[in-house]
């Protein structure tokens, strides 16, 4: 009885962490060691050296991705917060319709859009403009962001805002001094999700950006394979993946507590 729970937990942990551990160890092995070497030999940092000393350096891609991610998150939140806040003031029937529309938009497979987006980018001259990526990324993230934020806002008691109105706080002051501080957990979990989308996005980045110094991480990683189809550089791939996931890991650890309370918002009565 007492042993069952730890065993289940350990099993689940193994199930979810094993691929990551495999990836991590792959990044430290020589190509020969990967196919039937022993655990005691064949360890190396060569893969990381290859990735970091490429031209341009892997750091460059990280910075590119971070820039696009930050711009996307900022743009998305600055549009989604007012939208979510405005949604609360709408009549129930209109609100239900708008929410349905948002859900539909959030689950729409965006890959269907990327040709049209590419055409748009060409017309507007947004090809090879790093920060221009933030515009389609924000557009695609907005539905989900608005949905999450409006759920958080709906959880705030109306009377708190009424009290603030009576105290003479105008719309902006209420948003800034009352709503946003109370919304911090929802804001940070939404921000992470948006950032994550931008960090991982592939088709749009692939089609919009061709200059190698402007690539984002996913497209840059794909290029590592470009050397030869006969020798797949598994080690270098793994090293790039590990490096690429470190910043995200750091972000999530940093905001861990806020994210958890944001995701469970409304699940239990405060």
């Amino acid at each position: 009885m007492n042993l069952r729970r730890p065993i289940i937990v350990a099993g689940l942990l193994l199930w979810s962490l094993l691929p990551l551990i495999w990836q991590l160890q792959t990044s430290f092995r020589t190509p020969d060691a990967l196919v039937g070497g022993s655990l005691t030999s064949g360890w190396t940092l060569e893969n990381y050296r290859t990735v970091l000393q490429g031209s341009p350096s892997f750091w460059r891609y990280m910075v590119n991705s971070a820039l696009v991610g930050t711009a996307t998150t900022g743009l998305t939140l600055s549009l989604a917060v007012p939208a979510a806040y405005g949604l609360r003031q709408q009549a129930a029937t209109l609100k239900r319709g708008l929410l349905l529309l948002l859900v539909a938009a959030a689950v729409f497979p965006y890959v269907l859009l990327f040709l049209a987006l590419l055409e748009l980018a060409r017309q507007l001259g947004w090809g090879n403009q790093l920060l221009a990526l933030a515009i389609p990324y924000s557009g695609l993230s907005l539905p989900l962001a608005v949905l999450l934020l409006q759920a958080g806002i709906a959880d705030l008691p109306n009377e708190i805002e009424d009290a603030a109105r009576l105290e003479g706080l105008n719309l902006w002051q209420r948003l800034h001094r009352i709503v946003l501080p109370l919304l911090a957990p929802t804001l940070s979990s939404t921000a992470i999700l948006v950032f994550l989308f931008s960090w991982n996005e592939y088709p749009i980045a692939l089609t919009w950006i061709s200059r190698s110094e402007l690539l984002t991480l996913p497209t840059a990683m794909a290029r590592i394979a470009g050397s030869s189809i006969y020798a797949v550089p598994y080690g270098a791939f793994a090293a790039a993946t590990v490096l690429g996931s470190l910043p995200l890991l750091l972000l999530v650890l940093l905001f861990q507590r806020a994210i958890v309370s944001g995701l469970t918002q409304g699940a239990v009565k405060g």
Partner: protein, 327 residues
């Protein structure tokens, strides 16, 4: 219009086809505390929100200290309000909760500090000033909400069921305290409650509301002894008034404490149950004119068959259909 206090002039509020408030008119002079009493959905909270400016009116006028505030923004009405949930800002300390409104109004730091210290002192909140609302008990939260409402030296104080989240004993202790803090000042007070004991304990006058109408407005004594209709008679008084079976379109109402047992004459009654209330007991009686509840002293052992009577002056007669009282 006279200058002081609050006047409501034929206030109506409609939402679509529904009428939430119907031609409400009342006047509360400065220093008076008026309770709005009624069952839930009667319009008492709507009246409060209309005065605060949180809900708009469909027609009518609101005057506060001689100003027409009917269309004025809530933030400019000089209204202090205590909400049912207290509505404290959860992310701010007690001091922060008090300071925010003053800061928005550009009160200088020195003046803010002076006013906050005074009010913390008055409401015995000095030791709690750095705590967050989540770290306070219900009674303490209520005091903070009250402090926030009084801090701005409002032209009127509005309270929406401020005791409903507190336990019964605390409520009993707080009633005189609230009265001391609120009433008799330079502002009028509107107090919403569904608890008649609270209304009687705190307010100078009571307005009984139902379905968006004011049924009757007067002192607690007036309402209890001279109700204008059956609704008011039934709503006030615990145990509730006895309503006898109607005769020729008229219905007699009798308060349980006005019924006594007699040796001869009166009405034949059969005892069907007793409730012991500690200092008194409540008898359930069956008579040919309907069921009666009768309040008697606790140490009397009633027989199973008895005769009951009452003073004619205590009779309250109502029209059966409309419920209006017959004078």
């Amino acid at each position: 219009m006279s200058s002081g206090g609050l006047q409501l002039e034929n206030i109506s509020r409609r939402l679509g086809a529904r009428s939430l408030l119907h031609e409400i008119s009342l006047e509360v002079p400065a220093g008076e505390c008026l309770a709005l009493l009624g069952p839930s959905g009667c319009g008492k909270t709507t009246t409060l929100r209309v005065v605060a400016g949180l809900d708009p009116v469909s027609s009518g006028r609101i005057w506060l200290q001689g100003r027409d505030i009917t269309r004025l923004d809530p933030g400019r009405r000089q209204v202090g309000m205590v909400f049912q949930s207290y509505a404290l800002y959860p992310h701010l300390s007690v001091e922060g909760n008090l300071e925010l409104g003053l800061e928005i109004r550009r009160v200088t730091a020195a003046e803010r500090h002076r006013r906050i210290s005074t009010i913390l002192e008055l409401l015995q909140l000095v030791e709690l000033r750095h705590r967050r609302p989540a770290q306070l008990s219900g009674g303490q939260r209520q005091r903070v909400a009250l402090a926030r409402a009084l801090l701005r030296q409002p032209d009127i104080v509005l309270l929406d069921e401020p005791m409903s989240n507190l336990d019964a004993q605390l409520r009993d202790n707080l009633r005189p305290e609230l009265r001391r803090l609120l009433c008799g000042g330079r502002h009028p007070v509107l107090y919403v409650t569904h608890d008649q004991q609270e209304a009687m304990g705190i307010a100078d006058r009571i307005a009984v509301m139902s379905n968006g109408f004011i049924q009757q407005l007067g002192t607690a004594r007036d309402l209890y002894d001279q109700p204008v209709n059956r609704f008011v008679a039934e709503f006030l008084g615990r145990p509730a008034i006895n309503l006898l079976l109607p005769q020729q379109g008229h219905q007699l109402g009798l308060r349980p404490e006005h019924i006594r047992s007699v040796n001869t004459g009166g009405l034949e009654a059969k005892l069907t149950g007793r409730e012991w209330l500690g200092n008194q007991q409540l008898l359930n009686l069956e008579t040919k004119r309907g069921q009666l509840k009768m309040l008697t002293s606790a140490d009397w052992t009633p027989p199973t068959e008895l005769r009951v009577s009452w003073d004619q002056g205590r009779e309250l007669w109502f029209e059966e259909q409309s419920g209006e009282r017959l004078k």
